[in-house]
Subunit: 250 residues, 4 copies
């Protein structure tokens, strides 16, 4: 079987350089080009790249993807900053190049994506649910974007199933003790030296609890998801948003 | 909306008496009969029972179900001891009474069932997986039946996905340190005063781990699953084995 | 060896009736009297009680202890409502009866007491520390009294050691996300159906975390601490406040 | 206040180079010399080193320490391979140089040392105790040395307190399910991609459990303990074995 010919855009960045190593280590892939700031996109065509891993920045990503789509190169995109306008623009350019596939994912950690999927599936079966996320103390926002998104997905699943509000007899509380309220789901943010990124979703019902915990201990946790995206995007024309669409769950 | 008319067989047992209370507390159900040893099954017909919760023993269950099926009464069955022969016999009697539905479930804890389902879904995405189950010290078997079953389901999912064997460089080990081998999945059994029934499935991949933990803190944890079964079995003719079939996952 | 002669005051209450069973099960104790509302304290003398377990209510406890101390009967006290005035009054009555010993403990769970002790010992070695407590959803106060007390003890230990404030770069936060501030220690309160009483103290330093977790799964968790108190109070004249004084730690 | 003048032996090794950075970052220390293979020990004297951090190998450590002790330079030693003979030899050389202090520690992680200390303190209060250690899958031995040592210390504390054997009704078990037996304490070893080094000590008693968990997420976790050793060894003449002696616990 011939190997997939893969290029990395943003190859000198922290995540980009890990992506280069990950592609080089994958037995079914060949690393054909690593482009940094100032390198010409034509190199991708000359190198015969079939798939590009796009890890640059919001200022560069639209131009890069436009080039790739026009040349029939598939793309797996970790760059952020997506708006409805940008997604519409990308869809338009994909419509003109029907063979090309693009995967945009806000999170390439398979563990984080599965946590959100399982949390949605479990949401309607339990009376109580809370989210605890734990991160290093240099983090600026609380709760984390992943935790807020998880709580929103849980709240939506509960609403669709017609769940009653969560039981909570708290009548005397210190400010903040019961966490932040995200669509009715309490979210608690712990900041602790020594940690990286961790999240626990706790469900409680009559006589039992179910806990789904994701621990990200190293930034390399994004690599298996990126490689999975590369393998799948070549057979998935058009735009796909979210790695969960490639996990064949359920 | 009229309430579901529910009867309990084995109503004086530990689980049975909890089931009676659970049915009585459910707003959409009416408890119409609770039968114990020696009570006549005809009572079920006289009471107009639509669903029976069968919590007796392997010696009584076949006769009870035969009666129910013949009288068009649906059944949710927690009694154990099912063999292929028994299942075949039950299917035959159901074939002659096409409206009746029977749910047999080895585990009515929704948390335990979801743990197994999620573990199967996650299995093919991680290089490593181990199971740790923790129970009270009066338990006779190790590992628990649920843990062994969970490990088997994980192993099957990994095999179907073509996963490589788990990495493990252990070259010097004390006997037992690496747990029991269940189809290639290490299973560890902890016995601790103060615990009831707990299970953790730990998945590990590049830079991240995913943990699914189920804690059963009281035997009442079976009740929500039994009630869910009652609500669903009335619209599910024929034989269903496993509560997971009623959870509409994925 | 002769057995310790023990009586229980408040023997019909929920904790009291468990205490009666615990004393009856202890090989080195003899249950000589169980008194309820309206029973005469003279029974204690007639029964030859050496130690009383006092589990009544704030309205009754002072009279009960005054009687015990005057008659040279030792006491292990779980009743709450202690003020500086009440403690002073008790010390005065003990001064007049120098052989008698009284143990008052706000918490008889050995696990809870050890958690607080270890948390104080560890406090000065880590840059970060937070407390997460998890309880059933019928609890009225948040955080729990034990969690608040634990945070205060940690804060005091850090202050005495001259620790710097905890690192925390949070600049954008939803209300409540970072928990309640108890003397500079964030405390988070989770309320979940299925739980009883649980507490986690998380310490974080360069490259590592230390977690001390206490799970109370049944109210019987107070019994080993009560029995330990009974055994020790007979040799500890005067007033002792806090079970930790009988644990011979460090 | 003048800064402590610190040198590192084995400065080019993985741990050694981190130690150099840690000393450089410490406000109360000055990094005066970093020696590698082939560098002359006289450099230590020329640089005016007061304390040496010894991170070389068993073949070099005795000569290095002999030099330090003779020149009145204190030492904090992470190198392994200590035998009774070696310790005796070191004590002899220290006796001839009474001002010098040497700290040898098998583990410089404060979290790991506290875990062992707390586990010993808690051991006699609970009926049940087991150890679960979790490491990356490249680890050769199972259980880890730290877990085995922890179990031995727990067993010793239980024996000294006259504790009964642990309750365990297991009558049917798969080989290995109940872990390795280390002096009567079951120890379970999990090997999982994504992990570094983690250990849980689980205690169980009537109605409650106490869990002490240490997570080492990065090798830098040794640095706070090494720096603490440097600060304390200058005022602690003679030989000290074990970082716990510098933690002023209890």
């Amino acid at each position: 079987m011939s190997k997939l010919r893969v290029a990395v855009l943003g190859a000198q960045g922290r995540i980009g350089s890990e992506a280069v190593r990950a592609v080089e280590s994958a037995e079914d892939m060949e690393m054909v080009a690593g482009l940094g700031r100032g390198d010409k996109l034509e190199t991708l065509v000359e190198a015969g790249a079939q798939v590009v891993v796009e890890l640059t920045n919001p200022g560069a990503v639209m131009g890069n993807l436009d080039f790739c789509v026009r040349h029939g190169i598939h793309a797996v995109v970790g760059t952020t900053g997506w708006t409805d306008e940008r997604l519409a623009q990308l869809r338009t350019s994909l419509a003109a190049s029907p063979g090309a596939g693009v995967l945009i994912a806000p999170n390439f950690s398979i563990g984080a994506v599965l946590t959100m999927q399982f949390a949605q599936q479990a949401a309607r079966f339990f009376e109580s649910v809370e989210v605890v996320e734990l991160h290093h103390p240099k983090k600026a926002d609380a709760p984390s974007g992943t935790a807020a998104r998880t709580a929103q997905l849980i709240a939506k699943a509960r609403e669709e199933a017609g769940c009653a509000p969560q039981p909570d007899a708290t009548s005397t509380a210190l400010d903040g003790a019961r966490g932040a309220d995200v669509d009715g789901v309490p979210v608690h943010s712990v900041r602790l030296r020594g940690l990286l990124a961790h999240q626990e979703v706790l469900f409680g019902g009559e006589g039992e609890t179910l806990t789904i915990r994701h621990d990200s201990l190293h930034h390399s946790s994004f690599m298996p998801g990126i490689l999975l995206g590369v393998r799948r995007v070549v057979n998935t024309p058009g735009l796909t948003v979210g790695l969960e669409n490639f996990l064949d769950l359920g």
